[in-house]
């Protein structure tokens, strides 16, 4: 099983690979795109801190990664683009191919059709934004040339098992760490980062705002639902990168299912954080290669999580909370 790590800076490439990342993904936000579409992202991350900002940086990243035979995945995964943006998108794909990018991650069906029309040499990975909740959707993208599907966060291990059992000839990737988005990514039409960090309520993801919650009840007592809903809403404000959401126990299950790669979320995180995440998960993949029993693996994963991140396992921060009952 591969470990896919985010990378945003050239100087991160080598340390991340040395720490155990064997696939890297990144974004590229050029000045001309940013100036025209400021809050309209090219890759779900509208800020320069979560992106390379020049083609030269991306080329250097690819060059270093390839010297370790590590592939580079480039995100072009905004949920949609409009016709006027296509000359840029077409050029973006061609330039990415020319500098040796291995994979393009996409979410928009129209971009998949463009890649097919261009007979692109890069591999095509469907982002979680492609909302492949079932095997028939996986086959839909496979028919159109996708070689890997990143499954939505909002699937249980059992549901992933059912999908894996009904598809063949295509790689599956699952989320494993950070940013347990409370909403379905591909169906979420909130904006990421409508302003810079100086305007917090516009910068924060809309799901993380401190809402006041009121309840409308058709009958019965409204106090308890209002209380529970507010409590859960507060939890939702935490579930992005801030509080270390984790699915590491499920590595054991994913290996049995033949999942090809697991993804660490975290474009824009500090280098030290990216490295810690990679080291934590690499240590568990190493353990997994020794064939531990399920319970033994879960126990070690939980212990290492608690040691590394100095916090307990919590159901609401668990990507696959069904493992909490094992």
């Amino acid at each position: 099983m591969k470990l896919l790590s985010p990378v945003d800076k050239v100087e991160e490439v080598e340390p991340l690979i040395n720490a155990g990342a064997n696939e890297l993904y990144c974004g590229l936000l050029t000045e001309d795109w940013h100036n025209q579409y400021i809050a309209g992202s090219i890759n779900r991350r509208p800020g320069s801190g979560a992106n390379f900002t020049t083609w030269g940086q991306l080329e250097e990243c690819v060059s270093i990664a390839h010297s370790y035979t590590v592939p580079v995945f480039l995100t072009l995964n905004e949920h949609y683009y409009i016709e006027k943006q296509y000359p840029y998108i077409r050029d973006f794909i061609q330039r990415a191919e020319n500098i040796g990018v291995d994979v393009i991650i996409i979410a928009d069906l129209a971009v998949l059709l463009l890649l097919r029309q261009m007979k692109a040499r890069v591999k095509i990975v469907i982002s979680t934004g492609g909302t492949a909740f079932n095997s028939e959707t996986v086959k839909f993208y496979q028919d159109l040339g996708a070689s890997r599907i990143i499954l939505p966060r909002h699937l249980t291990i059992g549901e992933i098992c059912q999908i894996a059992g009904n598809v063949k000839g295509i790689e599956l990737e699952t989320f494993i760490f950070n940013s347990r988005c409370p909403n379905v990514d591909g169906f979420c039409t909130f904006h990421h980062g409508l302003a810079d960090k100086s305007i917090d309520l516009l910068y924060r993801n809309a799901c993380m705002l401190p809402y006041d919650v009121s309840v409308a009840v058709e009958d019965g007592n409204e106090d308890m639902p209002a209380y529970v809903s507010l409590k859960r809403q507060r939890i939702w404000e935490l579930v992005h990168v801030d509080d270390f959401p984790c699915g590491a126990c499920a590595l054991w299950d994913f290996k049995q299912l033949g999942v090809k790669s697991v993804k660490i979320v975290g474009r824009g995180n500090q280098t030290s954080r990216k490295l810690a995440d990679v080291r934590f998960l690499k240590s568990l993949l190493d353990l997994l290669s020794q064939g531990p029993a399920k319970q033994e693996f879960y126990d070690v994963a939980r212990r290492r999580y608690q040691e590394t991140y100095k916090r307990p396992c919590r159901e609401y921060m668990c990507y696959y909370p069904e493992v909490m009952t094992v």
């Binding site: 699937l155 516009l202 058709e218």
Partner: protein
Amino acid sequence: MIEQSLFISKLDNLYYWNESFPRLYFGNEFCERLLPNSEELITALEFVRERGIEFTLVTPYVTEVGLKHVETLLDGLANQRPGTEVVFNDYGIFRLMGRRFSNLVPVMGRLLNKMKRGPRLMVVIDRLPETTIEYFRNSSLTVPLMREFLTEHQVKRVELDNVLQGIDLPVIGFSVSVYTPYAYVTTTRMCLTASCDAPEKEERVGIFPCKRECQKYSFGLTSQIMPVMLIRKGNTVFFENPNLPDDLGEKGVSRIVVQPEIPI
């Protein structure tokens, strides 16, 4: 002439129908647990047959379990009422229809039109460059490759929300429906409404069983930065926008889908 269709998600709401609605939408877009069963579908079909009106089945995004459920419904629909519209919000269901149900008519649902709906946009829209505003009022449906693909696969109608920033799609070659008054913003399978009346489960945020608490409770979410109140109904967040543009006909809109209640 713009057609008015009535959209309900449960049979109890059939009472909203009156003769101004020549078409009934029935089903669910957001939660496979809320899909009608075969008997409920038959009841809805009898209702429209007795009144001589058209029918559209609405389907959500689905897991493998939901996919089987939808396949059963489509089997029944294809047998009883070939030529019926089916709104798909999942490309798996779209593929299934192409494979097995070519006598049903695929309609691309509003979840697959990815236009941004977050109301916060209205706080900053006046400060954005024209190119950005154009992006937010537009969608991938204007991309020729997308249009050709959908047309080739028998999609003739697409469904849109009445977004606050306005819709500015050039004539796109499809029949267009606009939903009113509720626009969806986001949806989850980690339903916050499930078990919301059980205090011992206050920290449960995941995919867990429910008792359809969504049929009883809904929640208002307000924030100083949101220009309108968000409404959480079940697993989905909506806002209400009762103001339809005056020039819908010029924008190619031929159908208004009226939701007397949030369709959960």
